[in-house]
């Protein structure tokens, strides 16, 4: 088990670039591996990810879903519904900075899921979500 973990870690390190930054794919596989611990055979689904993105959670009145601020087109800029500030495109294809830092991804999942979904997102949801953002619906 330990050797397997070490192997995966090494693989991630090798696959990462020189600054040890993550890629959307490495993040998806990381979250998927975590999700597989509780639901064996878990495979990320862009379709499920898309429904997370468009689902009307209705927890926050001003921000009922992700698209309220990020917009329906993930390759285009979004606009913060409260501050009206522009939000850089969600898709890594349009914005290479997206999903390149695990810490940043965790931070924003935590903030935004808590507020929009009403709870923290699960590892499975995070894997699905990034899968959708990188591959489109």
């Amino acid at each position: 088990m330990i050797t397997k973990k070490t192997f995966i870690t090494l693989l991630l390190l090798v696959s990462a670039n020189s600054t040890f930054a993550e890629t959307p794919a490495s993040l998806v596989s990381g979250y998927a591996a975590e999700a597989a611990k509780t639901s064996p055979g878990f495979t990320p689904s862009a379709k499920r990810g898309q429904s997370l993105f468009t689902n009307e959670w209705g927890v926050s009145q001003k921000m009922p879903n992700c698209t309220t601020c990020h917009g329906k087109n993930i390759k285009a800029e979004g606009k913060h519904v409260v501050t009206e500030k522009r939000i850089a495109p969600f898709s890594p294809a349009a914005n290479p900075e997206r999903f390149s830092s695990a810490a940043k991804v965790e931070k924003w999942f935590k903030r935004n899921c808590t507020e929009v979904v009403g709870r923290e997102c699960t590892a499975a949801e995070k894997a699905d979500f990034i899968q959708f953002i990188t591959q489109g619906g």
Binding site: H80, T83, K104
Partner: protein, 202 residues
């Protein structure tokens, strides 16, 4: 010994206003829905602190910085005295408490400036982290300050919280401040309101 005025009204209003806007900005920090409110409350923190800087020079006796300039050694000695249960008595800020005031002012400004930079999208990701860390440092000093107030109140048998409300402590009449300058009470409120309005242009 009789009841004498120590803290003037602008200092007290500024103090409790700072408590309010600090709490408001702290609890809204993780919310996007409350983002404008958070930024406005944060600027208000800056506004109150700007007034406090001015009042530290232009205020009454115990509000002025010159009345609580202590060396680190004096602060250390005071903490030792406090731990031994026999601290020396100070009508204004005690030597250890003074450092809490200075740190709160410095951390407050640093938090507000970094928050402004984050909101204006100047600087990168590290600024968000710095803003976060600074706000937690500030909360830590607030905790130490409150603890010091509790221990100090207990050691001197005087309610320091109530003194910061009504302004009085027991002392000799020649040590009192006069109750003039009350109209300055509007100043911390005005600077807080004006500063919070910066949210509309940033």
């Amino acid at each position: 010994m009789k009841k004498i005025l120590i803290w003037d009204i602008p200092t007290r209003i500024g103090h409790w206003l700072l408590v309010a806007v600090f709490i408001l900005s702290f609890v809204t920090g993780d919310s996007e829905e409350w983002r404008l409110f958070h930024v406005a409350a944060g600027y208000a923190v800056g506004g109150v602190l700007a007034f406090r800087m001015f009042w530290g020079v232009a205020g009454t006796r115990y509000a002025r910085f010159t009345s609580f300039l202590f060396s680190p050694l004096q602060a250390f000695r005071y903490v030792i005295e406090l731990l031994k249960g026999k601290p020396s008595h100070w009508l204004g800020h005690n030597p250890a408490g003074s450092y809490a005031i200075y740190l709160l002012i410095l951390l407050g400004f640093a938090t507000v400036v970094s928050g402004f930079a984050v909101y204006a999208e100047i600087g990168g990701e590290w600024l968000e982290e710095a803003h976060d860390a600074l706000s937690y440092c500030m909360l830590g000093i607030v905790g130490i300050h409150v603890l010091g107030v509790i221990v100090g109140s207990w050691a001197h048998h005087e309610n320091l919280v109530r003194s910061m409300v009504h302004g009085y402590k027991m002392g000799n009449s020649e040590e009192a401040i006069d109750s003039g300058k009350t109209y300055w009470a509007i100043a911390p409120i005005a600077t807080a309101v004006l500063a919070s309005m910066l949210v509309f242009i940033t």
